[in-house]
Structures are given as structure tokens and as C-alpha cells.
Symmetry: C2
Subunit: 417 residues, 2 copies
């Protein structure tokens, strides 16, 4: 093999100038909704308070405001083109203070006071496509672009009235805190919001140390929680020893729960296994899904969840694509699998999660992907014929998996299976 | 498409009789070390104390004993054929008691006493290949096989002397608690141990509720921790409200941290990017790896980690296989990626994790896979020539990824890329 050969049915991918380090999509790759962030996270600068302090005050910097995890958005945008509305340093300063990263992290930990409320901030990354007027920071390399932060502006504690004033001023300008799940954003804004939501939520959900029961504090620009050894609120007396203070521990880092979601074909490759929950609208089905468990591979998790929910026994499993899902912290790993010949019988008696599961022909699924997709709480589209199969929209990885199957990706002459 | 077409270069996979619901491997699928468990977990029976009570006392049941997370093993087994040694109910009864699941879970939670030490047990699943003499349990379906449990027999608290007696009796018979990482087990025992270790460790690491700071208790046969509303040790007075008591919360369930590990090809497909840490033996390299972060797809995590550690910019990413890694709770998602033409320059200046990273030719890697593989703390094999490239052994997914690349899987005429 001297060069990577491409699939004969695809054009040679064009590689344009690299306009951002990490945000482009490639070849046959499916970038699912909530993935595809335009930002370079620069995780190695999260403990660098000089960088953070400069970034927070820079004129090119954007702040995403979240109230109870819901973001500030532009009003009246068409579906799929929703926009987050970002504010500037001067807007948010009354909430976050003049310079939240004035001091090195080490000093902030020493000054930890469990009774002092600090609104949660997250450093989301740099938009490197901004080449004019952006921040330039000389670390070991030169980093250039427009910084993005998320700020929790839920009106509470010492910043209650500052948050209320900020939100009122934005409302005056026509911007509003959104309601419900954010499934109608422009894809790049969806990815920015996903990171903001998941990290704000993780910090809020984990105020106490699971290792010792004491309160923890947010460090690393929102990407770590540490269990300080002293607390100013308690006369700075020494706290009991905590395992999280020795070496690296996963308790200190954000949690992401891997889940599996799978389009399962029968052995002949003519039908797809879909299931439905009782609370879903009539005729609405989706691919089976569930959490991966400790110490199993994704391939095993796909087989186990399919067996538990439907009784179907799966052989070969191939991963298709993945989708972050920030409600609250899932990583959906999308797979395509094939039933074994003796394992196609549906049995809902193991785990009573599904109301029904059925084998649908590829033609039925193809038809429904054209005419019957909608969000769970949306009406079916105008092309939908009552009684026909309904399926999730393109923002759901379930839809992308079924689309790949009916288009013969993974199962045709250049099979991945 | 009327049938699933197989890769022309592979024989049609044989589908033997299904001898176990979930444990077989299929076609081109790579089952990595620590995956491929022979047990059906039957997760939906974990809250069924009637099932658990019968399983724990059944003559076909096997108990894996762990002391400080290290398992009881058979002595003097050849590398790759190591065996866990399982004991019987009568052996372990002095530690776990007559019937640890005598009462429904609901009643156990009501009787919660934070000062009472209960040795941690995990229900690992049923070996359904055991068709004679196994447990038969009629739930909504009929479940048959030999049950497996893990038990924490670390000598401590009220069971200190019972654990010591049990371990001494096993030592007398020639069985021993192992030392170090368990990388030499027979693959099916490796998978059983991985689940035991990860779940015992998760329970031990999380004695307190991250939501409210109070002590939690293990339920669901070791797969859940709950924050009881009352504690007998505190006069059964009502505890403060806790968010984990309302609805479903990820804080109650075991944590698994998704990580990415990737064989990155240069754009022409002639070289693989490998890196090394300073503490590794000379000439020892491996594929790059790192934790997935909140709200990014696996494909994005592969690109970000490769950029952070090596400066290389990656285009297309395809998942190859996955590997559970119970030290302490990782799920390694193995991928193969391709650098973009302008992104092949190595720059170690971003994240100082690696001492070196280099592009190695496929021939160099092929040669090292044949003659230079060993564990990190093992000597190189007899065929190794001093100064040559050294690589991780076949139990590491890194080795499987490189093997797939040099064999042309994913990159040949039937490319997955």
C-alpha cells in the first residue's frame, strides 16, 4: 500500500487550506448534531491564569450566558438556523468581577472559601478563523483567535441582582433565555452550547467530593473540581485527608457517560430492528439504545442492550459515528450490527423498557426517512400519511444510522461489516 | 441490497449454534483483551432479591475473591493462560453472611446504617454454557446457567478476621492473591476480572454522594449507589433533601470514562504517528491516546488529542474496535485516522505530555510488531535487535490498531477510510 485508496464511489476529498485546527469534517464522516465545534479548546491553557485573564478581558471575546442551563438566544430564527447570542466583557463584568483569573490557581485554592459564591465560568476555546482583531497569546506556541466563555448567570446568592440586571438588559435588546431542548440551533452553535451546558451542569451537579463528602471548588476554567485541604469558611483549619488529593483521580474530572445506539439488520440485510417506548407518539419508532456498562466493549454493549430490550442476538458490530448529547452528559456511540441467523426472534420479556419492537423493511424505513421524520414533540410533516412509520429527525444519530443503512453504506460491496 | 455482502477477501463467517447469548466474536471484529466476557450480565435481574438470593446459594455458583482489588488466582500458569480461582458459597459464607439478599432492596434501603460495614458484592452474570447443574430461574423468561459473583474480601472492619481465615485457607490450597496488573490471564477470565475490578473500585471510590455530601449505599447487586433518606446510625432521622433522590441521575450509576487511542497515518498512508513518554524504556513507542472531553464526538477527540500531543492535524477518523480498561474505569475507543496534507509537521510544544513523537514507516512498524513487542515492564523478546522500535503487546489495543493498519485493513481496496 503506497497511498490511502479512497472508496471508488466517492470523489477524492478536497483538502482546502486549513482554516481552523480542528473543526472541519472529512470525507464520508458524519458530523452529528452537537458535534463539529468551531472552537479549539486549548485544554493545556486551562490552568494558565495569565492566558485566561487576558482572554476574559479581550474585545474579541464572546460570553455565552446560561440561566438554569438554558442559553441566551436570538429570537425568531428559522428551525436549524437558531443562534446563540453572545455578550461582551463589559456586559458580564458586574457578574464575574473585574478579573476572575487575577491570581494563579494555586493561590485561589489556598484562599478557598466554601461560603463564597462564585458564578461558574467555562473556557470553551478559541475561534481560530478570526484572524483579525483576535487575541494573540504567546505560550510555547503562538495561539490566535477569538475566545469563548460560558457563564452561569442564574440569579442566585451574591450575584442575584447583577444577573437579573444583565438578563433584563438583554431582554430589552430582544434577546431571550431559551426554553426546552436546544435542537434547532445552527450546527456550530449547537456544538458550542453542548460544551457549555455539559460543563456547567457537571459543576452544578457535583458540589461535594464523592471521596470524602466535603465541598469542592471549580478549577481549570471549569474542567476540574478539586477538594481543597483548607476552607477559609472554617477558620482555614485542615480538612480530613482525601484520596482525591493524591495523584490523578477521575473523581476530579468531568464525567461523560458512553451510550450505545444501534441500527440492527436482520441476517439477510433486508430489515432493520426498531423499537418504541409507550410514551412516544403513535407509529413513532427509533433505533435501540442504552448505556454502556463498566468493563464491556462497545461491541458487547450493543449486543447486550439489543438482547435485553428486544431478545435479538447480534453478531458483527461496526461503529458508524458518534454524537455528544449534553442531557446531561452522554456520548452516543452509533453502531450498525447484524443479527445472527438463529437470533432474529423478538422477545420483549427481559427488560420491560420498550412497548414494542419490530423488524421494518429497508423500503419502509427509506419511505419514513423521506416523509415521516420529526422531533418527538413535533407534529409529523405535511408529507406524512397517517398510520405510516414515524422516525426521528436528522439531528438524531438514530436517523443518521438508518440513513447509512438504507443507502448501503457499511453493507454494500465496500462493506464495513 | 438484498443480502449483506461480505468482504471478498474474507471467508463467509460460520455461525455455529448459539451456545451463549452474548459472548461470541464475529467476522473481522477484534475482541480486545478485557472484552469478550463469557457471562450474560442479566442487568434487569439486579434488583430482584429473590433471584440474587437463589443465585448466591446455588451449588453451581462461583465467587471471585478480591483483596484490595487484586484477585485470587491459580499459581504458576503460563503467560496468557492465567486463571482466576473461584470459590464456593460455603467458603465465602463467613464473610458475606447466610443470605445477603434475604430482603427486598427497598427494605435494605430503609434499614440503612452508615456505620455497618457490608463487604461489597457484585453480580457478574450467568455462564449460559453451563447447561447441566446450573441455576434455573423463571422470571419473565427462563434464565439458565452458572452464576458468578465478585466479593471484596479485603480484611477490614467487622469481617476482618473472616476474610483473613478465608484467604489463609485458599493459600493453604495453593491459591494466591495476585500482584500487579492482570495482563496474563486467559481472555475470558480477563473479561470477568475487568468487570469485578471496575465495579468494586467504583463502589470503594464513591462512599459519599457528590450531590449532598452524605454517605451512600450500594444497591442493584453493586451496579448502583443510592443516597438513603434516613440513616439508622443517626437515629433514623430524616437527612436533608438530595437531588439524587428525584428521578434518574448519573451520580447513582457507575462511571466509565471514554478515552481515544489512535493510529494516525500520514496523508500518503506510508507512515504511522507514534509517541513516547519519558518514563518508558528506550525505543518503546505507542499510539497517541487521551480522554474524550465533555461534548465532543470521538472523531473530534481523536483530532484534538493528536493536535495537543503532537501538533499533527487529522482529517478522516474511523473507529476500529474498543477495549474496556479497568484501571480504574476507562473505555478505550480505538480509531484509525489520516493526517491532512498540510498538517503532518510534528510540534510537541502544546501539551508537554510526550517526550517524543515520530512518523514510522509501515515496514518499521511491521518489523517491530513481529520482533519488538512486550509489556512496558517486560524485557524485549529474544528476536528484538537492540536499537529497533519496541511496541506494546497484543493485549493492548494500540497493537491491534497498528496491526490493522499494516495489514491494510481500513486502508486497502475495501477501505473504511
Amino acid at each position: 500500500m503506497s497511498t490511502l485508496q479512497k472508496q471508488p464511489d466517492l470523489p477524492e476529498p478536497a483538502y482546502p487550506e486549513v482554516d481552523s485546527m480542528l473543526s472541519r469534517r472529512f470525507g464520508k464522516e458524519v458530523a452529528n448534531y452537537f458535534a463539529g465545534s468551531p472552537l479549539n479548546r486549548l485544554g493545556f491553557l486551562r490552568a494558565d491564569n495569565t492566558f485566561l485573564s487576558r482572554a476574559v478581558k479581550h474585545p474579541s471575546t464572546s460570553f455565552l450566558l446560561c440561566n438554569e442551563l438554558q442559553p441566551l438566544v436570538e429570537p425568531n430564527t428559522p428551525a436549524g438556523q437558531g443562534k446563540l447570542h453572545f455578550v461582551k466583557y463589559e456586559d458580564v463584568k458586574p457578574v464575574i468581577g473585574e478579573d476572575p483569573w487575577a491570581h494563579p490557581e494555586e493561590d485561589q485554592i489556598k484562599a478557598y472559601n466554601s461560603e463564597k459564591y462564585i458564578p461558574q465560568m467555562i473556557f470553551l476555546g478559541l475561534d481560530e478563523k478570526v484572524t483579525t482583531g483576535g487575541l494573540e497569546y504567546e505560550g510555547k506556541n503562538l495561539y490566535k483567535g477569538a475566545p469563548y466563555f460560558a457563564v452561569d448567570v442564574t440569579p442566585r446568592e451574591s450575584v442575584g441582582s447583577a444577573c437579573e440586571s444583565l438578563l433584563a438588559a438583554q431582554k430589552e435588546k430582544g434577546y431571550e433565555i431559551s426554553k426546552g431542548r436546544m435542537m434547532d440551533l445552527d450546527p456550530s452553535h449547537a456544538a458550542i452550547y453542548a460544551a457549555a451546558r455539559q460543563l456547567l451542569d457537571w459543576n452544578a451537579r457535583n458540589p461535594y467530593c464523592a471521596g470524602c463528602g466535603h465541598k469542592t471548588m471549580s478549577v481549570n476554567a471549569g474542567f476540574k473540581r478539586t477538594c481543597p485541604s483548607k476552607d477559609v469558611a472554617n477558620n482555614a483549619s485542615e480538612r480530613p485527608p482525601c484520596v482525591t488529593r493524591k495523584g490523578v483521580t477521575n473523581l476530579s474530572f468531568p464525567r461523560t457517560d458512553p451510550t450505545v445506539i444501534m441500527a440492527i439488520l436482520n441476517h439477510a440485510g433486508t430489515h432493520i430492528l426498531l423499537g418504541r417506548q409507550g410514551r412516544w407518539p403513535p407509529h413513532w419508532y427509533s433505533t435501540l439504545a442504552g448505556f454502556a456498562e463498566p468493563a464491556e466493549s462497545i461491541e458487547e454493549a450493543v449486543r447486550r442492550e439489543t438482547y435485553e430490550e428486544s431478545g435479538v442476538l447480534v453478531g458483527r458490530v461496526v461503529v458508524h459515528s458518534t454524537q455528544p448529547w449534553p442531557y446531561p452528559a452522554n456520548l452516543m456511540i452509533g453502531a450498525i450490527g447484524q443479527a445472527v441467523p438463529q437470533g432474529e426472534k423478538i422477545n420483549l420479556g427481559n427488560d420491560p423498557e420498550l412497548e414494542d419492537a419490530q423488524w421494518f423493511s429497508l423500503d419502509q424505513v427509506r419511505e419514513a426517512l423521506s416523509n415521516g421524520v420529526s422531533g418527538l414533540d413535533e407534529p409529523a410533516g405535511s408529507k406524512y400519511k397517517e398510520g405510516g412509520l414515524r422516525l426521528p429527525p436528522g439531528t438524531a444519530i438514530a436517523n443518521q444510522l438508518m440513513t447509512a443503512v438504507v443507502n448501503g453504506v457499511f453493507t454494500g460491496a465496500n462493506s464495513k461489516i
